[in-house]
């Protein structure tokens, strides 16, 4: 069996919790077994078949270890939760916690994603073609570290607190980011193709935030200081890596940059990089 196609029958009345619906967990099961898997529905659980039409993926899809969700799953949370291997595609929007705690594999959301997308992600790749809501690439409530590895791409816009407490990995927003971008960031790389809201890098200790847009102005917080010298070698290494993702980042290696160091209110070894 190469994988499963799960088509949402209708928007659920309350939120669905799809944790555990990973290609590895469904591998080797029969269609009847998959249909009887329990999914969270409000404060109870119900059979998967109550909400999805389950069909095997055709061999033409050449999708080993694949799972395809179809429909508007914006009320379906924790898609790809703790994903470690395989590929999940959402042909529509996803709910909250999409790709949360994933450590490997690939999750692609063709629509938008809700709150806390890629929270505490540690590996693999997550791509959201649309927008993500607040606290993407950040941390679960009460946890010290946010995203800590992997590659998270948002082709649309991001909400507030993008990359809060982020520790490692690469998170890119092709569009605009909301307020408190990279707040309390510990390390890692964030790239923004559009504009950012207020309080960029609030409490940032280390890490790099790259602004690829030449439009508009970035309100540099007063707790950041301009760097006297560039870091051309590091910039080439980073820019060449980000350029792989295309879009507003494609031309970065051929551009110069301007850096601001901070947040001096904390460790002060982070950097805001403005591509020129």
């Amino acid at each position: 069996m190469s994988g499963w196609h799960l088509r949402l029958l209708q928007a659920p009345a309350v939120r669905l919790d799809l944790r555990g619906m990973t290609p590895a967990a469904l591998a080797g099961l029969s269609a009847a077994q998959v249909e009887q898997l329990r999914v969270g529905f409000g404060n109870t659980t119900m059979a998967l078949a109550e909400f999805f039409k389950v069909e095997p993926l055709s061999p033409d899809d050449s999708a080993d270890d694949s799972l395809v969700f179809e429909g508007d799953l914006s009320r379906c949370d924790r898609i790809g939760w703790q994903l470690a291997s395989g590929r999940i595609t959402v042909e529509g929007s996803a709910g909250h916690y999409a790709g949360g705690c994933m450590s490997g594999g690939e999750l692609r959301v063709k629509g938008h994603a809700g709150l806390l997308a890629a929270c505490e992600m540690s590996g693999g790749s997550l791509t959201v073609e649309g927008d993500v809501s607040d606290f993407a690439a950040s941390t679960l409530p009460g946890s010290m570290d946010g995203m800590r590895g992997g590659c998270f791409i948002v082709k649309g816009n991001a909400g507030e607190r993008f990359g809060d407490r982020m520790r490692r990995g690469t998170a890119l927003v092709f569009g605009n980011a909301g307020d408190f971008l990279a707040s309390r960031m510990v390390a890692g790389t964030i790239g923004v193709g559009g504009q950012a809201g207020a309080h960029v890098g609030y409490g940032m200790r280390r890490g790099s935030v790259v602004f690829a847009s030449t439009q508009g102005t970035l309100d540099i917080p007063v707790t950041f200081v301009p760097a006297l010298v560039d870091a051309a070698v590091f910039w080439q290494l980073l820019a060449r890596d980000l350029a792989r993702h295309g879009g507003p980042f494609a031309a970065l290696p051929s551009r110069t940059m301007e850096r601001y160091l901070g947040d001096l209110a904390t460790d002060g070894r982070g950097e805001l990089i403005l591509a020129r």
């Binding site: 051309a232 070698v233 060449r240």
Partner: protein, 304 residues
């Protein structure tokens, strides 16, 4: 076997396993990359007393380096992975970290990892920054001209050291000309270095000595000054000067290829240019598992 008047001995070079790595040094321009590479590969002619054998493999254009700057690739070989790690750390720390505008990267991806910038980062005194880029960790160490960027580790691979050619020539001028031509031909190949000064060694050695404290001593059989004095002299009255070229390479085939082009370069000069005979150093097959038979190498070269 005689080619262009040059006698090719029915002998073989005997080489032994080593551990090696490649590092890539880049800089603001090639001059400074070369300064760092020359310094880092200094005093690295023989593992007998240098701890490693090292040399410049080739120069790299901006399109060949991770940061888009000109660079130099360096090969370093040692007898053990532990000794190699020590040498790499010392040499990069004292010769590359110190050299203006440089950065250093691993030149080999697969293999056991040894520290490159991993321990040098402490020079940053707490201001060093780690950066993971596409799965590779780099260290950014603040220095007085900006930042020293070093990849955290480089990889160690099993290599072959001690491939060699003995070029028996008519006189000093001919020996130098032949040696220089052979080294130039070998330097055009990847994955090999000739660690001695100019790639050439005049003090070829044999195993053992009359002095108990010495493990190696002069190769008296090939010393023209001992002609008529030592019983097993290989020297004829026409042979007044002998040079040796030692080759270290990443693989057996790399060393073989270098020996082949070196011999071909010498043969091209021929007896008319003063090269009378090509031989090789071996120890009866007891020292190392890699045997490079001169005639077989030439035959393989002519068929290919």
């Amino acid at each position: 076997m005689i080619h262009n008047g040059v006698a090719i001995d029915d002998s073989f070079a005997e080489a032994f396993p080593m551990k090696g790595t490649r590092i890539v040094i880049t800089a603001h321009n090639l001059t400074w990359a070369r300064h760092a590479a020359v310094s880092a590969t200094g005093f690295a002619t023989s593992v007998i007393a240098c701890g490693c054998e090292a040399g410049i493999e080739r120069e790299l254009g901006p399109h060949e380096t991770p940061d888009g700057r000109p660079g130099v690739s360096v090969l370093i070989f040692s007898m053990s992975g532990k000794e190699l790690a020590k040498q790499v750390e010392r040499r990069v720390g004292q010769c590359v970290l110190t050299c203006p505008t440089t950065a250093v990267y691993a030149g080999i991806a697969e293999g056991e990892a040894i520290a490159l910038g991993k321990n040098l980062r402490f020079f940053g005194d707490g201001w060093q920054i780690s950066k993971m880029i596409n799965g590779v960790r780099y260290w950014r160490i603040p220095v007085m001209d900006g930042e020293f960027v070093a990849q955290e580790t480089t990889a160690v691979v099993k290599c072959v050291g001690g491939g060699n050619l003995l070029l028996l020539c008519r006189d000093t001028d001919a020996a130098l000309a032949v040696s220089e031509a052979a080294v130039a031909a070998m330097q055009a190949l990847p994955n090999v270095i000739m660690p001695f000064p100019g790639g050439v060694v005049r003090s070829g050695s044999k195993v053992g000595s009359k002095y108990a404290a010495l493990s190696a001593s002069t190769n008296d059989a090939f010393c023209p000054s001992l002609h008529g004095l030592v019983a097993n002299s290989e020297i004829t009255p026409q042979t007044r000067c002998v040079m040796e070229i030692v080759i270290d390479g990443l693989t057996e085939s790399d060393v073989a290829a270098a020996m082949r082009v070196g011999m071909q370069a010498g043969i091209a000069i021929g007896a008319a240019g003063g090269l009378l005979r090509i031989s090789a150093g071996n120890y009866g097959g007891k020292l190392g598992p890699f045997h490079f038979h001169l005639r077989k190498l030439l035959a393989a070269g002519s068929t290919s």
